[in-house]
Structures are given as structure tokens and as C-alpha cells.
């Protein structure tokens, strides 16, 4: 965060440690809530950390600053990851993470903008985030502002028709201020994406829709940072990062095990998970 600590303080080890802490917070808050998508949250932790503690220029002190970068968690079910990172940046107290999914909490099961300052959109109904992001990016172009709009999408989410409506329009309007990061963990709630509804060649699809596409290792912070540098030369095209990730990444017994897509961890599993993240 520009407004918190200068970027140079975040070396690779620091960022890796932040990612570990974010995973711990995700596990703790979803355990407290007895629900929440920790697997889907884990797959985008490095993406969020490399953004919020680096490339993304939000404004913690003035969350409605018209020149701030915008972040849209289009895969809204990964809200725990977003909340953990936002708390880490100082948008709200870390203790508040315990209130996830509770009645009256600002931390709704899926993000609701009007409840939590710092959120740029509500999300959760899949596909709507990227479309709303197109609108925000368009307003930036109209007003000649320099901000960028970062969107994180799930790969399963790309089965929604509106994603492709949005993709087509972003290219039509030449929105080079729009960056979509596809968290490609190859799993969705009922099984592998290839079994449920094959996505085919995602890179070819986004390219065919007129986007500049970059492949990136989604858990490799250095690779993410290098890619964020590369995309700065793209002009007149929206940018898609296809991030290869592992659902549940960070805790071996959870990784790629769809049992944990929604099932809360029992006490023993919780203890083991926290040991991995110690």
C-alpha cells in the first residue's frame, strides 16, 4: 500500500511471510464462522498479497479517493482472502476478522460494498464483478484519470456468459486500464472444471476476445511481480493474467481436496492446518 509502508520494505521473504499470515487468518476466521471458502481463498493469496502490498495503489486513508486503483473480487466467495489482506493493509482492525459471516458484521459471506469502506464493489454473484469493472475502467477513460482496475476471477467463473460479454466490451473500448487475473485452480464445487464444463483453452479464448494475455505462476510472488511489470507496456488492450494456482494451496491435506470446498475443518484438522502455517 502506497499510503502505509514504502514498497522497498517488502522483500520476497516479507511477502511470503505476509502470505503465510494471511492463510492463518483465513483458517482462523472461517473456523470461527464455521463456514466460508478457505480453499478458494488460498488459491489467490499470493495474487492478492503481491497486489495489495505492491502493485495496487489503493488509498487506505481515503477509500473513495477518485484516483485510487480499484480492486474487484469477482470471485466473491474468496472474500476471506480479501478481508485478511485488507485488514493487513489497515482498512479495518484485524480483530474484526473474527466477525466473518456473523449477523450485523461488516464482513459478509460475500463482499457488500456499502457495509465495508474500502471495498470497491459488492460481488458474489459470479461474472458480475468483471462487468462492473468494465464500467469503472470506462469511467476512468472518460475522466482521463490514471487509475487501474484489477479484477480477480475464478476459472469456474468463466463459465458465466456475462464474463464473455464483459470481455468483448473491454476490448471494444480498448481498456488498457483493466487487468483481469484468472485464478486458474482447475476445480469448481462439483469437481474438476474439465469434467463439469470444460473451459477449453482459456488463453486462446481471452486472446480471441482481444485481450493481451500473460501466463503466470499464481503462487510465485516474484513471477507475479515480474508480470505486473511486463503488462505496463500494453497499450489499447485489456490485460488478462492466467494464473496457474492450486486450490487450497499452503496446507497439503487441503490442496486439491474438494471435500474442503465448503466443509468446515474439525478441531484436529484445524490444529494440523495451523501447524503447517506456523
Amino acid at each position: 500500500m502506497r499510503s502505509k509502508i514504502p514498497l522497498s520494505l517488502y522483500d520476497q521473504d516479507t511477502l511470503k511471510d505476509i502470505a503465510r499470515k494471511v492463510r492463518r487468518d483465513i483458517i482462523l476466521m472461517t473456523a470461527e464462522a464455521n463456514g466460508g471458502h478457505y480453499m478458494s481463498s488460498f488459491s489467490c493469496v499470493e495474487i492478492l498479497v503481491s497486489l495489495f502490498f505492491g502493485e495496487f495503489h489503493g488509498d487506505v486513508n481515503n477509500p473513495e479517493n477518485p484516483d485510487r486503483d480499484r480492486f474487484v473480487m469477482s470471485k466473491g466467495h474468496a472474500a476471506p482472502a480479501l478481508y485478511a489482506v485488507m485488514a493487513g493493509c489497515g482498512y479495518f482492525p484485524v480483530e474484526e476478522l473474527k466477525t466473518l459471516r456473523q449477523c450485523g458484521s461488516r464482513l459478509q459471506g460475500h463482499p457488500v460494498k456499502h457495509r465495508l469502506p474500502g471495498l470497491d464493489t459488492s460481488s458474489g454473484s459470479l461474472g458480475q464483478g468483471i462487468s462492473t469493472a468494465v464500467g469503472i475502467a470506462l469511467s476512468g477513460k472518460m475522466d482521463k484519470r490514471k487509475f487501474r482496475v484489477f479484477v480477480v476471477l475464478g476459472d469456474g467463473e468463466c463459465q458465466e456468459g456475462i464474463v464473455w460479454e464483459a470481455a468483448m466490451s473491454a476490448a471494444h473500448f480498448k481498456l488498457d486500464n483493466l487487468i483481469a487475473i484468472i485464478d486458474k485452480n482447475n476445480l469448481q464445487i462439483s469437481g474438476p472444471t474439465d469434467k463439469v464444463m470444460s473451459l477449453g483453452d482459456l488463453q486462446a479464448k481471452w486472446e480471441a476476445f482481444g485481450w493481451a494475455v500473460f501466463n503466470v505462476k499464481g503462487h510465485d510472488i516474484a513471477d507475479l511481480q515480474a508480470t505486473f511489470e511486463k503488462i505496463k507496456s500494453v497499450k489499447n488492450k485489456p490485460i488478462a493474467l492466467i494464473a496457474e494456482t492450486i486450490k487450497g494451496c499452503g496446507v497439503p491435506f487441503i490442496e486439491n481436496n474438494l471435500h474442503y470446498h465448503t466443509a468446515p475443518l474439525n478441531d484436529e484438522e484445524l490444529k494440523t492446518a495451523l501447524e503447517f502455517l506456523a
Binding site: T132, I136, L138, E165
Partner: protein, 316 residues
């Protein structure tokens, strides 16, 4: 006496209002889905090409792009045919626009049966029901060109999501430009009367007023009220009318389920129940045909209104 043949297209008034407001409000943006020639947003597009966005045939994206623009302080007006804008994109309207109370003005045209020849797929008889059930949403049906212009100005100056329903059919000219001021909490009395109150709006005011002329010959004094704002509903006006005349008829170009009849019944049944009849389309689809033919086929004529008046008065 009314001049029933003095009619005009309210969508023309909408297009004109956008151009006027566009001059005053630099943040006003207009979006359409490839139908700007029909919805009349084309006038604005010609005048302000930089503030007009054609999203193509993609209504879901149309709504959420408008939401994104609103989040950055723009005042979007969004138009396409009512069935596609409200129907296909309903969940975008609920989850992105209304949940955060975003200022987006949905001005959907060709509502009701008015697309005539195009038939059932293009007609919209459910839009009021599915819009008014969404929290934060305001629902308005302007009566004529003068009221349309005023409603569009009100929408541009008021926060939150709104649904404004426009017909393709010409509406009877009722209001005088200089005298009329739109207030969502006040329903204009178009025809005064003491035996029965008819609540109607939009182009159905013409049918309602025709019915009152015939009723007059029969010695029945029917009051016609322009219920332009279905949400928020001015409950006290409706209750007060039920107390005054004790017999209510509602008239709408919409399914009898969920429209203005339902809205009025929800208020009266809980506050001051009186005999009531709902004139509308009886839970069926429309079809191809001239609008006037369709009105006969779907029980929307002045004769149907007259029969309903007799019935509620008998039951009183």
C-alpha cells in the same frame, strides 16, 4: 371533454429530456443495447457521442457497466426494451445496482403489449412485478409526454436505482407543460368523482378516462387517479380514496399478478379493505396483433373497466 386522439410518444419526450439534461449535467451518461433508434436515446448519442455507450446485444453487461459508471460518480440512464432489460438482466439489477443503492436510471421502453406485431417474446407484462420486489428500487410509470419529461428530470436529480416504464404506444396528452410538476408522493386526480376510484397510469389512463365518460351517461361519477409511482407507494392517498368512495378499480397494461393492482391490494387489505377489482392481463402471454385488437383479446378495454366499476359498486 377529453381529446382522446391528442396523443404522443412518451419515448420521444424521453429522448428530448435526455438531450436537455445532458446540457446541464456533464456526468449524465446514456447506455443502450443496440436499440437506440427505438428507445430514442439516439438523439442523445448524436448530440453527445462521448457520453453515449452502445453495449451491443448484451443486457447483463449493459446493467453492470452502468453500475461501474455509477460507482465512479456518473449518472447513467440505461435503455433497451423492457422485457430484455428487466428480464434478462434482473439479477444484475438486484445484486449489483440495488444492493448498494447505486444511482442508475433504468428507462425501459416498449413495455406492456405495445410492440404489437412482434408478439409475446418482445412484450413485457411482468416488469413492474419483478422490479418492485427489489429493495431500494423506485418504480415509476409516466402518463404522458409532459410527465415523462418531468420524471426523467426527477430521476437525474435523485439518488438510488429507478425503473421507469415507457410504452411504445402513444399516450394521450393530459398535462400542460407549464403547470406540471412531478412529485412521487402525490398522485394527480385526472377526473374527479365520488362513486368509485380508478387507479391507473401510463397509456391506460386513456382507457380509464373513456370508461368514465360512458359511466357518466349512466349516472356514475368515477374518479381517475394517475398512480404514476408504484414504489414507494403513497399509501395514505390509497387509503384515503378507499375511505372516500369505498370502491376501487385498478387498470394496468401488466399481468394482474404483481402490478399496480397487487400494490394497491397490499395496502388496502391491511389497512382499509373495500371492494376492489384489478383490470389487467389475466396471467397469460400476449401475442401478435394491433395493440387495440390485443386490448380487446386480453380484456383491457373501457367496457371491461365499466363492468368492474359496476361490480365493485354493487359489492360495496
Amino acid at each position: 371533454m377529453y381529446n382522446f386522439s391528442q396523443c404522443s410518444h412518451t419515448r420521444d419526450a424521453y429522448g428530448q429530456a435526455l438531450v436537455e439534461l445532458g446540457e446541464e449535467m456533464p456526468n449524465l451518461i446514456v447506455l443502450d443495447s443496440d436499440l437506440s433508434g427505438s428507445t430514442k436515446t439516439a438523439k442523445f448519442a448524436k448530440k453527445f457521442p462521448d457520453r453515449f455507450l452502445d453495449i451491443g446485444i448484451a443486457e447483463q453487461n449493459l446493467i453492470d457497466i452502468a453500475a461501474g459508471l455509477s460507482l465512479s460518480g456518473k449518472i447513467p440512464f440505461v435503455s433497451t426494451f423492457a422485457i430484455f432489460g428487466c428480464g434478462r438482466a434482473w439479477e444484475q439489477i438486484r445484486n449489483t445496482l440495488a444492493l448498494d443503492n447505486l444511482t442508475v436510471n433504468l428507462v425501459m421502453t416498449h413495455a406492456g403489449l405495445s410492440l404489437g406485431g412482434d408478439g409475446a417474446t418482445h412484450q413485457s407484462l411482468e416488469d413492474i412485478a419483478i422490479m418492485r420486489v427489489i429493495p431500494n428500487m423506485r418504480v415509476i410509470v409516466p402518463a404522458d409526454s409532459v410527465e415523462t419529461r418531468e420524471v426523467i428530470r426527477y430521476a437525474a436529480e435523485t439518488k438510488g436505482p429507478k425503473y421507469i416504464r415507457i410504452s411504445r404506444r402513444r399516450s394521450m396528452d393530459i398535462f400542460q407543460k407549464e403547470e406540471y410538476h412531478f412529485n412521487p408522493a402525490q398522485y394527480p386526480v385526472i377526473e374527479d368523482g365520488s362513486d368509485v376510484t380508478i387507479f391507473s397510469n401510463g397509456c391506460m389512463l386513456r382507457e380509464s378516462l373513456k370508461a368514465t365518460q360512458e359511466l357518466k351517461k349512466q349516472g356514475i361519477s368515477a374518479k381517475v387517479i394517475n398512480l404514476h409511482t408504484i414504489k414507494p407507494l403513497a399509501n395514505e392517498i390509497i387509503i384515503s380514496e378507499a375511505k372516500k368512495t369505498g370502491a376501487i378499480v385498478t387498470v394496468e397494461e401488466h399481468n394482474v399478478i404483481g402490478g399496480i393492482g397487487s400494490a394497491v391490494a397490499e395496502v388496502l387489505s391491511q389497512n382499509h379493505p373495500v371492494p376492489m377489482r384489478i383490470i389487467g392481463v389475466n396471467d397469460r402471454f400476449g401475442g401478435s396483433g394491433h395493440v387495440e385488437e390485443l386490448y380487446r383479446e386480453l380484456d383491457l378495454t373501457p367496457e371491461h373497466i365499466i363492468r368492474a366499476v359496476h361490480e365493485v359498486m354493487k359489492r360495496r
